[in-house]
């Protein structure tokens, strides 16, 4: 064992760093562990903003925020968790500002807020269109200030479980090679999403669902895994994110006929309807022949150059670099792309999982505040509020327990398994399996889901998993062997795909991101206002259900 800590946080994006800061401030000895340097984490790519009812741009309050979130979740979000988020959000955002976050300002010098999709008030606090960048850097500044140690470029491969509790992690050291075991009284998973399951994805290469798979493999259940959000405005063909902030600032979505087609889908909210609604509208327009080369157009021109340069500078930079289009003069071709996993490791409102001393926060967790559809701006907020809560709970537990045990066989078993993989010389390289997985998931488990396609995808993933058994790592070296870690990541992704499909097939209704237009086009609260729960038993996902927590808001018809 290399070292032990009270709290070990795996993943160092906004949730991970916020958790580490909180645990440190509670008096725990904390370390971060991440396969990339903390500031490289994908939280930094969040653009549009962070939702909190500050009331700086209108008369707003946490209850309105909670209602919008419950409705946005298509009544699958747990309302107790949502209320906690919305109540704690304002102070958590002020905290970030006091730490030095460079928010955009109102005329009177307060934190500026812009309208966002499916929000009744302009509630999204922002830093131009680089909010995630600003937050990840301010959190890393606070991590440096506290001198919190970070194991950088260590790839978490296995959780150590002994005596029915999580006691650490076994990780591959990217820079130097070799496995390292880090013991910990508590472990917090904060590894982000699994968007790399899809070909068209806003997610970074690092978003391979590591934390979800780590939990799954030690028997911890995942929740609502079928709920993958497709963001309506991603650049074609790369899937690079164009912020919802564009529409918040007033941009239009138009089809090939030059029409603002949302009038037919969300006549009141138009471009500011929820993401699931707009993605379906776009896909329908494209499928019915009113797209342009498989895209629709996001038109910013009427906003004027000044607003675009001041508030959407990053968007302009992205469009100019990756689409060769200056949005001041031309509309941007966009289409739905995989963006955010509402599902994840099943936790309670303190980030606790079913396994003692294992916690999760951020996108890899499912508390659940997003239910079947997340509102733009709520993800960053969740990383902060629930990162903080998980950090606090983990520190509390760690400070009242003393020992860490890593059974002797655990490390040698891992060494042996790794050697088997590295010694294999004949077989398939991972990239073909990875590409086929990503393409077929996009085809068969995308914006719309159809029974036949989901069944077909189940067979495809099964076949890909068989092929994965013989995967070959070409790089046999010790130094910066990410050929190895990319192969391990693919193993994670394949298992998560299985979980998503089993849950998707059994959810025989349309709710939020899970839309079945052919066989179950309506929401069915009687049968399905409940979470899917998937456990890994033997070598297969096994489905179960769990009730949704309702506090104040009974389900209603959801229109925008």
């Amino acid at each position: 064992m290399e070292a032990t800590h009270d709290v070990l946080v795996i993943g160092a994006g906004c949730a991970g760093m916020r958790a580490a800061i909180e645990a440190h401030d509670q008096g725990a000895d904390v370390a971060l562990l991440s396969k990339i340097h903390p500031v490289r984490s994908h939280s930094g790519a969040a653009e549009g903003g962070i939702n909190a009812a500050l009331g700086n741009a209108s008369d707003d309050d946490p209850e309105k925020h909670a209602y919008d979130t419950v409705k946005g979740s298509d009544y699958l979000g747990d309302q107790d968790a949502i209320e906690i988020l919305c109540n704690e959000a304002p102070d958590d955002v002020y905290q970030l500002e006091h730490w030095g976050a460079v928010f955009s300002r109102t005329e009177d010098g307060r934190i500026a807020q812009r309208p966002f999709g499916a929000a009744g008030e302009p509630r999204t606090a922002y830093a131009a269109d680089i909010t995630g960048h600003v937050l990840i850097h301010v959190l890393y500044e606070q991590v440096m200030k506290r001198d919190i140690f970070a194991y950088e470029e260590l790839f978490a491969w296995k959780l150590v479980v002994d005596d029915d509790r999580c006691q650490g992690v076994i990780a591959w050291d990217l820079l130097n090679g070799g496995l390292k075991t880090i013991g910990a009284k508590t472990v917090i998973l904060a590894t982000g999403g699994a968007g790399r399951l899809y070909k068209g994805s806003t997610n970074a290469y690092a978003c391979t669902g590591d934390g979800m798979a780590l939990a799954l493999r030690v028997g911890v259940p995942l929740k609502d895994m079928e709920m993958m959000q497709f963001h309506p405005t991603t650049l074609s063909p790369t899937g690079i994110l164009i912020t919802e902030g564009c529409r918040g600032e007033g941009a239009y979505l138009i089809n090939a006929e030059g029409e603002r087609f949302l009038k037919d889908y969300a006549p009141n909210a138009m471009e500011l309807a929820s993401r699931d609604v707009i993605s379906r509208a776009e896909q329908t327009e494209i499928d019915q022949g009113r797209g342009i080369d498989g895209s629709v157009l996001l038109d910013l021109r009427h906003l004027g150059a000044e607003k675009i340069v001041e508030r959407l500078h990053g968007t302009r930079e992205l469009a100019m670099t990756y689409a060769l289009i200056d949005p001041i003069y031309e509309p941007i071709p966009v289409r739905p792309g995989a963006h955010y996993h509402m599902g994840g490791v099943d936790t309670d409102v303190d980030g606790e999982t079913e396994l003692e001393a294992l916690y999760a926060a951020g996108e890899c967790a499912c508390v659940s505040v997003h239910g079947a559809n997340r509102l733009g701006g709520n993800a960053l907020m969740e990383t902060i509020t629930y990162g903080k809560r998980a950090g606090r709970a983990a520190a509390d537990w760690a400070l009242t327990h003393t020992t860490v045990t890593v059974p002797p066989g655990v490390e040698s078993d891992a060494e042996r398994e790794l050697k088997t993989l590295l010694d294999r010389k004949d077989g398939e390289r991972p990239w073909k399996i990875r590409d086929e997985l990503a393409h077929t998931m996009h085809e068969n488990f995308g914006v719309f889901r159809r029974e036949r396609q989901m069944q077909e995808q189940g067979r495809i993933v099964g076949y890909l998993r068989e092929r994965y058994e013989n995967v070959v790592v070409e790089d046999k070296g010790e130094v910066f062997n990410n050929d190895l870690t990319q192969a391990l990541e693919l193993g994670f992704l394949l298992e998560l795909a299985e979980c998503m499909l089993v849950a998707g097939i059994e959810r025989k209704e349309s709710r939020g991101a899970h839309a079945r237009p052919d066989d179950y086009p309506e929401r069915d609260d009687e049968k399905f206002m409940k979470h899917t729960i998937v456990r890994w038993i033997g070598d297969q996902p096994v489905l179960d259900w769990k009730p949704v927590t309702v506090t104040k808001w009974q389900p209603q018809e959801r229109t925008y």
């Binding site: 930094g44 006091h98 010098g109 970074a204 290469y205 990756y322 001041i328 003069y329 990239w431 990410n482």
Partner: protein, 358 residues
């Protein structure tokens, strides 16, 4: 799914060739050539991915967001630092060029295109990179600051810590301990922050050895920054702010101060006085030999009555205006930046008017 179907996703393709400096963990170097088929939209990073997948799994480079925000994929193309995810390959292919890809400069190579960022981060840490608000517990729930005040650090806040500026820094090449453009821009991010209460202390630290005055002003950091941070301008702001705060013990500061004094009093730069004013009389005496050499070649103006420009009043008025408006120090440079930005941008808008696109 068939290969053909996958192909459709990618669109038209092109043949791309790269030469890559491969470096083993033991430091052995070799320039290898690769040629692959890539989609026409491919950036350098996409091409590296194809090479790693299909030709050599041992090729090492960092990557993550592929959208210019995580700062992982800094490397050199034809000897200049770039983000691999930002460089589109099509124009390079069309020009028939085969670029040479290598690791960033000024940082130790770990393997292939991967460098150790440890020296980079230790310099970032050296500038105490966190806000010092002057309190432990805030007494107000929301702190009010105007957008205008916050705009001072707009550019410095864009930094993604990719290291491209450090890679190209000429000063760091001769003095590896020089704090360097990234750390100094980070320093300015706090010195310029209207909420930070430690600016004098920070400026004193940054005026030390290997600090702001060791920058040679080659502007390579501005040139190669992929995010428009303009680290050299940040260093200039730190210099201006230091002098405004009376922190001018360094020769660099004295040098700059003399420029101002000379321009204000005579409307000219009095170069003969520059060395003694910067290095002091004793220091200047050491340069006598060099000065005589210059004089022999007619590079030194004759000593004698101080020459005063005919329109010196203009220079003085300008000086007074800057003082009156309170735009001395960093504020003046920031004002200039914003004016330039507006100018550039009105120019582009103006160009478009005949199209009636507004």
């Amino acid at each position: 799914m068939t290969e053909a179907a996958i192909h459709t996703w990618e669109g038209e393709t092109m043949q791309v060739a790269l030469k890559i400096w491969r470096v083993t963990g033991d430091g052995e170097r070799a320039l290898e050539t690769y040629e692959v088929e890539a989609p026409e939209w491919a950036c350098l990073l996409d091409v590296l991915d194809i090479i790693k997948d299909r030709q050599d799994g041992s090729l090492a480079y960092r990557k993550s967001c592929r959208m210019m925000i995580c700062g992982s994929c800094g490397m050199r193309m034809d000897g200049r630092a770039v983000l691999a995810c930002k460089e589109r390959m099509k124009p390079i292919v069309e020009a028939g060029h085969v670029p040479v890809i290598s690791a960033m400069g000024n940082l130790p190579i770990v393997k292939d295109l991967v460098v150790s960022m440890d020296p980079f981060w230790s310099k970032i840490r050296a500038v105490k990179p966190w806000l010092d608000p002057g309190y432990d517990e805030a007494d107000e729930r929301e702190r009010v600051r105007s957008q205008q005040q916050m705009n001072v650090i707009a550019k410095e806040s864009l930094c993604i810590m990719c290291g491209c500026c450090v890679s190209e820094c000429n000063s760091m090449e001769s003095d590896p301990e020089f704090l360097g453009p990234a750390a100094l821009a980070k320093g300015m991010r706090f010195v310029g922050d209207p909420r930070d209460q430690a600016d004098v202390e920070r400026l004193n630290d940054l005026n030390g050895e290997h600090g702001i005055w060791d920058c040679t002003r080659c502007y390579m950091c501005n040139e190669r920054c992929p995010k428009g941070v303009d680290p050299r301008d940040a260093i200039a702001k730190l210099g201006a702010e230091s002098i405004k705060q009376g922190i001018d013990h360094d020769m660099g500061a004295k040098h700059a101060n003399w420029f101002v004094t000379s321009a204000k009093t005579t409307g000219w730069l009095r170069e003969t006085d520059l060395v003694p004013k910067t290095q002091g009389i004793l220091g200047a005496l050491k340069e006598t030999k060099f000065a005589l050499k210059l004089a022999r070649r007619g590079k030194v103006p004759p000593p004698g009555p101080i020459h005063v420009a005919a329109e010196v009043d203009e220079a003085r008025a300008l000086y007074d205006l800057v003082k009156q408006q309170g735009v001395d120090g960093a504020a003046g440079i920031v004002q200039g930046e914003r004016a330039l930005q507006r100018l550039e941008f009105e120019h582009t808008v103006h160009q478009d008017e005949p199209e009636g696109e507004q």
